[in-house]
């Protein structure tokens, strides 16, 4: 018997493993996602994010280990889970020859949404995502962004407690992406747990917790701030007319770790004492013939954190 205080977390896995032939896609993953979290799954291609999500969605069975969603085993008690979760796959998985409205209605009916509520919820969701005028259009004639929105809407029709989203905004224009996250934020406020795999680091910033997945294993997990703090050193930005030359010049400065060009600035992970960074860099660059270089502090964003930690892990 579990009291509200010890209600099982949305997701808990222990030693979760999945093999495809010789390939170990998910390798002994121990993960806990608290209720109400917006949990980001980050990692390179082939890291196992999709497989992990599918294991949690009860679509795949584990080769070893266990996964529990809201306290129910995905293997043995799938039917307890499927009505409470929504899963959005990476590829478009709607019926291409059915209209937006028909797709929504079908999946809602199949997931047990009562008839009286189907129409109202559908309208609300479509309007909310800007798909209202496309209700009568066949799904195959939608653009990439609209397709993703349709899938999300379909996943939300039955008001699931847990959302499993596999790279939901890939190929979507920035405006639509913002709208998408606005919807997710609204769901978060309403208490829905969201587990989202994303390659976009800026989206990782918006999560309450994140985890890095690489080679089927979890490398780091924590809140974005905690993960950022794991990065050794201070992140510094150098603005100068010739970023490439600057990177070359900094190659022989030992405290200037992994200098690289990002856009039109150079970023350096300063390994020495933080206070010395500005002065030492400016001096070094001036000596190399770039007196006009400006140095300023930068926040460790997830992009850098990911790159640095992934490299460190190798």
């Amino acid at each position: 018997m579990s009291s509200p205080a010890t209600a099982p977390p949305a997701v808990r896995t222990s030693g979760l493993t999945r093999r495809f032939g010789a390939v170990l896609a998910v390798d002994g993953v121990d993960l806990t996602v608290e209720r109400g979290a917006v949990f980001g799954l980050l990692g390179p291609d082939g890291a196992g994010k999709s497989t992990l999500l599918r294991l949690l969605a009860t679509v795949l069975r584990p080769s070893a280990g266990e996964a529990q969603v809201f306290g129910h085993s995905t293997e043995r008690e799938a039917q307890e889970i499927t009505g409470r979760i929504g899963y959005m796959s990476q590829r478009f998985a709607m019926y291409p020859d059915l209209t937006v409205a028909e797709n929504l209605d079908f999946f809602a009916t199949v997931r047990g949404v009562p008839k009286t509520q189907r129409a109202t919820r559908a309208t609300a969701l479509l309007e909310g995502m800007g798909l209202g005028e496309f209700r009568g259009r066949q799904a195959r004639h939608l653009s990439g962004g609209m397709k993703q929105k349709l899938m999300l809407a379909t996943t939300l029709m039955h008001e699931p407690d847990l959302l499993l989203l596999d790279e939901p905004t890939t190929g979507v224009d920035p405006v639509s992406r913002r709208e998408f996250w606005r919807v997710l934020a609204g769901l978060h406020r309403a208490g829905t747990t969201v587990l989202v795999a994303t390659p976009y680091m800026d989206e990782a910033e918006r999560c309450t917790s994140i985890a890095f997945l690489d080679g089927g294993r979890i490398r780091q997990t924590g809140t974005p701030a905690e993960v950022a703090a794991l990065v050794p050193g201070t992140l510094v930005e150098v603005v100068c007319p010739d970023p490439r030359a600057a990177v070359a010049a900094l190659a022989d400065l030992p405290e200037a770790g992994s200098p690289h060009v990002l856009g039109d600035v150079v970023r350096v992970l300063w390994r020495g004492p933080a206070a010395d960074a500005e002065g030492a860099l400016a001096a070094h660059l001036a000596a190399a013939g770039m007196p006009s270089a400006q140095v300023r502090a930068a926040r460790v964003d997830m992009e850098t954190a990911f790159a640095v930690l992934a490299e460190a892990g190798r």
Binding site: V59, L60, G83, I85, S89, A93, D97, F107, G112
Partner: protein
């Protein structure tokens, strides 16, 4: 309404929308059976008639003319050309201008007048074996008749009454199909072929398509049970198969005047079980076929070809090697053809047809259970 029924209803409704949005599919399922019916009923015949015949009469006597006329008078041979030399026969056969050549050599009448045996050559083009065999048989019979006539007439002039030997005269009675209309023979079986194609092929394709579209996964993440999915998916196809059945039956009855002599109940039960069996086959194919192409080809191999070749619909199975006969028992089409023909032509009812009905029931049960097991297993 119970949640199961609601879900099944949703799937069935969706399937109907798919069909509605795919005009070609509708054409295949509704138009093609009718087209096949018309083709088979009108075009196909095993009856041999009007075989183009070449007559080479080298005798030019009243006797030879009378002999040749016997062939002309039969409905089987149609004298389309006459020639004056044997060499013409080769050319006529080579160019497919004639299938039969009747060669009456010079001296025909003289031999007869002397009371001897006169030789006549009947040459047949064996490249159409069915016609050739029938032509051979009839020519022999015709010849016997003519021969007898000649003998009797001659004997009379000699004062001998050869008719004393009496003669046996065949009284031919054709049961079930007195006009020997091929359509009567073919149409009841055609229904079976059409249903098999529509149900087995389409069901095979429909589930594979869900997999390929990715929606199968979405359906897994829902309370939908595999049985509900299957029932919902099959409903439109069952209805369309029955629609086809009714249309063909109606056309057959009123356009082709096929009799309906037996128990409609037996036909209905048999049809229902047959449809269920075909659906089962289609579902099994869809569960094991990795891709749409393979599903199509497998359905063709397992549904269309056996229905066409091994059901007894157009080609009798009595004379087939034992191995093939056993293989034909594996497919349900054969039992349904027996039931269909039995009910339409032979006036049969459940008393006579219960073995076939039982076979179909067993078949339906086995395939549906197997299909349910194989489909929708999580990876």
């Amino acid at each position: 309404m119970s949640p199961t029924l609601t879900r099944i209803g949703a799937v069935a409704r969706k399937e109907f929308i798919h069909v509605r949005r795919d005009p070609r599919l509708l054409a295949v399922v509704l138009v093609m059976p009718i087209m096949q019916l018309l083709l088979f009923a009108y075009a196909i015949s095993f009856d041999v008639r009007n075989l183009p015949t070449l007559v080479v009469d080298l005798d030019h006597t009243p006797d030879s003319t009378a002999y040749v006329r016997a062939y002309e008078a039969s409905g089987l041979f149609e004298v389309t050309s006459r020639a004056d030399s044997l060499a013409a026969v080769d050319g006529a056969f080579d160019r497919n201008e004639a299938r039969v050549a009747v060669v009456v050599p010079a001296g025909f009448a003289r031999s007869l007048a002397r009371g001897e045996a006169a030789e006549v050559g009947i040459l047949l083009d064996g490249s159409e074996p069915n016609s050739a065999r029938i032509a051979q048989t009839y020519a022999a019979a015709l010849n016997q008749l003519e021969s007898r006539q000649i003998a009797v007439t001659w004997a009379a002039t000699q004062g001998i009454d050869l008719t004393q030997s009496g003669s046996v005269e065949p009284r031919l009675r054709t049961w079930y199909n007195p006009e020997r209309a091929s359509s009567i023979f073919l149409v009841p079986g055609l229904m079976v072929v059409v249903i098999m194609i529509v149900t087995a092929q389409q069901t095979a394709v429909t589930l594979v398509r869900e997999r390929e579209q990715g929606t199968a996964e979405q359906l897994l993440v829902s309370p939908l049970r595999r049985v509900e999915l299957m029932v919902g998916k099959l409903t439109p196809w069952v209805l369309m198969a029955f629609l086809d059945l009714v249309v063909i039956a109606v056309l057959g009855l009123f356009l082709f005047h096929i009799p309906l002599r037996g128990s409609v109940l037996a036909l209905g039960i048999g049809a229902a079980l047959f449809v269920a069996s075909c659906l089962g086959i289609g579902l099994i194919v869809s569960a094991v076929a990795p891709s749409l192409d393979t599903a199509n080809m497998a359905a063709f191999l397992v549904a269309f070809l056996p229905a066409f070749l091994l059901s007894g619909f157009a080609f009798a199975l009595d004379q087939v090697p034992a191995v093939i006969e056993w293989i034909s028992r594996v497919f349900p089409a054969r039992y349904m053809v027996t039931i269909s023909r039995g009910v339409f032509l032979k006036g049969a009812g459940l008393d006579q047809l219960w073995p076939e009905v039982a076979a179909l029931a067993a078949y339906a049960l086995v395939t549906l259970v197997l299909a349910a097991r194989l489909n929708g297993r999580r990876a």
